[in-house]
């Protein structure tokens, strides 16, 4: 039992189980092959050789060090603020369960705001300095912390809540004594996902007119066809993300998280009044519009580039040329959804499938996890040329970009979900000498489902971000290319119309996933649905 449980309780054990010697040899082999391929294709400027990358790092150590320091400072601040916001939002939802749909929808909408729109606004609001970078790093993480923590706050046995109630205590006591301890492991999962995202967010934030940082250097290196520089920055970004990931994981282990309990929640009574869902949707819409308009008015943002809801209405419905503009927008959205959908499903399936596979064969974790972090922490503008080169500018390349962007958070969240399989249940499977596969399907998979659905929600905005970026950089089609084009020609009416439509699509997709989630979790994890 002990070996099995050790691996079940998470990736770290899998890493430790690796023998040092083969791993070192494997790394060396990888480097040698990498060097060979890079040298063989030097003329076409695709891959930098490890020796070139190391050479660049040495000869530009001062520059890289300063840039790294600047980006790291923004990333750390964004990490703190973003995670704080994510946790507070989750607490708010637990304390005000009736507001869940509203708060979730608003959180999702804010997360969906694209850089082409937020970049200029943040720069105007903050002026020169690191404000936009920190904000964008925070925006990159709060949502992926909010969702797992919310799952965790509910992952406690009903009996404990009954106990709190029998002592005459209220919600706050339940929160402090029951929910917060239950949420800790999920918070660790959220923070692990957040670490690379914050760094990437800070780098991308530098595209808004920063003076220094690794993002600035990336843009410069790409344009200068300076492959060693591009790859050196990518290696640094990947390295720091892996370190942060490992550090958060180690911290989680130090907290010595309580072993998972069997969560025997009573089935949820499905007696929602029929008018409730539409009413909540309307409320969310009204709140979103109010916040949209209100925040722009409060900050006095010029209408020229900060279009209000009524400007979008005018642009798409009542104004001159509205019909043609609508047609253009919907055509672009259609193109985008046709690629985002398959990419979303592929990334989700890949992430969850890999998590299950790693539960069966934990040794693979040592190779898969670092690679996944690397893919997630390098700006897509640096990786997109490689993907385009390998897969072309067609559908395959775009779908791959989307899948790559969402499979990492899914993998991590699902692995943490798997680790929450109650010990008592595992012992039971052990007693009956079940096969690992049976244990996986009978015990671990159900335990993973809440985390899986949380990542399915997280993956919606991530898929949108990925597909629009790929469209902008590689295919020139769809809503991503449309937004890039109109932003560069000051057609902010179209830009905000596209943002509104994309936000609406995201909320609808979210509702779809949530409905599916309720149907499945009502059978497997009723505690998640308790109000």
């Amino acid at each position: 039992m002990s070996a099995g449980r050790g691996t079940l309780r998470g990736g770290p054990a899998a890493l430790r189980a690796q023998h040092p010697l083969p791993r070192g040899l494997g790394l060396l082999l990888v480097l040698l092959i990498w060097e060979g391929v890079a040298r063989a294709t030097a003329g076409s400027f695709i891959i930098a050789a490890p020796s070139q990358i190391a050479g660049y790092m040495v000869s530009h150590s001062g520059l890289l060090w300063r840039a790294f320091g600047a980006t790291l400072a923004s990333a750390v601040q964004g990490f703190v603020w973003g995670n704080l916001a994510g946790v507070l939002l989750a607490l708010l939802v637990v304390l005000l369960p009736r507001g869940e749909r509203l708060l979730s929808a608003l959180a999702l909408l804010v997360f969906c705001l694209p850089l082409v729109a937020t970049g200029p606004i943040l720069r105007v609001l903050y002026g020169p300095g690191t404000g936009p970078q920190v904000t964008l790093a925070a925006l990159a993480v709060y949502y992926t912390t909010f969702l797992p923590v919310l799952v965790g706050l509910r992952a406690a046995p009903q009996g404990w809540f009954d106990l709190v109630r029998s002592y005459g205590r209220g919600r706050m006591t339940a929160l402090r004594e029951v929910r917060l301890p239950a949420a800790l492991p999920y918070l660790v999962a959220g923070l692990q996902i957040a670490a690379p995202a914050a760094f990437l967010g800070a780098m991308v934030g530098e595209f808004t007119g920063a003076e220094r940082g690794l993002g600035v250097l990336t843009v410069r290196a790409l344009r200068a066809l300076d492959l060693p520089a591009t790859w050196a920055i990518a290696v640094i970004a990947a390295g720091v993300s892996m370190l942060a990931f490992a550090a958060v994981g180690a911290l989680g282990r130090r907290l010595d998280l309580a072993p998972p309990e069997v969560l025997m929640a009573p089935p949820v009574a499905r007696s929602r009044r029929p008018w409730e869902a539409p009413a909540q949707a309307l409320l969310a819409l009204a709140a979103a519009l109010l916040i949209w308009k209100g925040s722009m008015e409060v900050f006095g943002l010029p209408r020229f580039f900060a279009k209000r809801p009524e400007d979008v209405w005018f642009y798409l419905v009542t104004g001159p040329g509205a019909e043609a503009q609508r047609a253009r927008l919907f055509a672009a959205l259609g193109e985008t959804l046709a690629l985002a959908g398959p990419g979303y499903l592929a990334g989700l399936g890949l992430g969850a499938g890999l998590a299950l596979l790693l539960a069966l064969a934990p040794r693979l974790g040592g190779a898969v996890i670092p690679l996944s972090i690397a893919l997630r922490s390098i700006p897509i503008i640096a990786t997109a040329p490689l993907i385009v080169w390998a897969l072309g500018r067609g559908a395959a390349g775009t779908i791959t970009v989307v899948a790559v962007m969402i499979f990492f958070p899914t993998l991590i969240a699902c692995r943490h979900g798997l680790a929450r399989t109650p010990r008592a249940v595992l012992d039971l499977f052990e007693v009956y000498a079940s096969s690992p596969l049976r244990r996986l399907l009978g015990a671990q998979l159900p335990a993973m489902l809440p985390a899986f659905f949380a990542s399915a929600r997280m993956a919606i905005p991530a898929a949108i971000l990925a597909v629009t970026t790929a469209e902008w950089l590689a295919t020139g089609r769809g809503i991503g290319a449309l937004m890039a084009t109109v932003a560069s020609t000051s057609d902010y009416g179209m830009l905000w119309s596209a943002i509104a439509l994309v936000g609406l699509a995201a909320v609808l997709a979210h509702a779809l996933v949530a409905a599916l989630e309720r149907a499945v979790l009502a059978r497997t994890s009723a505690e998640q649905l308790a109000r």
Binding site: G209, E211, R223
Partner: protein, 329 residues
């Protein structure tokens, strides 16, 4: 960033940063008008004249403290100028025309690049030397620039249907990797990058084939033109003097760019080559006769014509020479 006069507090306070000192003595910092110039891209010798203006104190002497705000992939020039965060922005006539058509109250008050830097870059084995050579070729470009290609074809009577447009991101890799036969890019960046990397290329400047669009134009709002004329004149005067220095010694401007922005990752050889390549775009017989940044009714008329082809109709009133006239007058 102006240099504060040597005060006793600053002199004694070894531990005080200059920023801290400025905080302690806000009155002193206000002695100069603080304005911002929004650049159109990351720091590089592309804005070498502005760096010279700062270094040589041309703005300081005029009572102006100018901060140079870098641009970037997601830092359009127009919003900060509209919002007033920047007094002047470095735009281009086509971008300005688009913004004005969307309701932005801009005027072009100076033209740094008399000739548009857009070019078709190709490799010597398969060169594009004239617009007619484009037929049958694959061109890599951002789809947003399709109107540019359309205008070029229309001016030169080339059938655009014979050209295959491949959407690419803005770097030279698709060309050297053979994904495309040519690229639509600035003559002063991607071809320079290729040359530094040892890849020879052929560039055809669109401006040599009838494409007349002023680039690196100085834009300001109508409100600033009405109410902040002194600042505009002071800023543009510094620019003109700085770019005159640039013309005299582009290499020094390249060296200054590298020195002034050590964190920008600039390479001296690249900066020197870029500095040299942009000279013929910025200085002409017209600027020799009238001064840096100048434009005439004729050059404006040619711009209006090309902009019409680009689907961005504007009136010649978009250009306002009154600031330059004060500067040069």
């Amino acid at each position: 960033m102006h240099l504060p006069t040597l005060t006793r507090r600053l002199f004694l306070g070894g531990t005080l940063s200059t920023a801290g000192a400025a905080l302690l003595a806000p009155g002193r910092a206000r002695a100069q008008d603080a304005v911002a110039l929004q650049l159109s891209w990351l720091h590089s010798v592309q804005f070498g004249g502005s760096y010279l203006a700062r270094k040589n104190g041309y703005w300081r002497d005029a009572g102006l403290e100018v901060s140079l705000l870098p641009g970037g992939p997601n830092a359009p020039v127009e919003p900060p100028v509209v919002a007033g965060t920047a007094l002047v922005g470095i735009s281009a006539a086509d971008y300005t025309a688009a913004a004005v058509n969307q309701g932005a109250p801009f005027r072009i008050i100076g033209v740094a690049m008399q000739k548009n830097p857009f070019a078709i870059a190709s490799l010597p084995d398969n060169p594009v030397n004239s617009p007619a050579d484009l037929v049958g070729k694959k061109i890599g470009m951002a789809l947003a620039n399709t109107p540019v290609l359309e205008a070029l074809c229309s001016i030169n009577g080339v059938d655009i249907g014979g050209i295959e447009v491949v959407p690419t991101q803005y770097d030279a890799a698709p060309l050297v990797q053979g994904q495309v036969d040519c690229l639509l890019c600035w003559a002063t960046d991607l071809p320079v990058a290729m040359e530094i990397q040892g890849v020879e290329s052929v560039t055809m400047l669109l401006a040599d084939h009838g494409y007349s669009v002023h680039s690196q134009t100085y834009i300001a709002t109508e409100d600033s033109l009405a109410n902040r004329r002194d600042q505009l004149v002071a800023l543009m005067k510094g620019e003109v003097m700085g770019w005159q220095d640039y013309q005299a010694d582009p290499e020094a401007a390249a060296a200054l760019s590298v020195e002034m922005f050590p964190d920008a990752g600039l390479d001296l050889a690249t900066q020197k080559l870029q500095a040299e390549r942009q000279v013929p775009l910025m200085f002409s017989d017209l600027t020799e006769a009238e001064g840096f940044g100048w434009f005439t009714e004729e050059t404006v008329a040619a711009n209006v014509e090309t902009l019409k082809l680009l689907g961005k109709p504007v009136s010649p009133d978009l250009w306002d020479r009154s600031i330059l006239e004060e500067v040069h007058g």
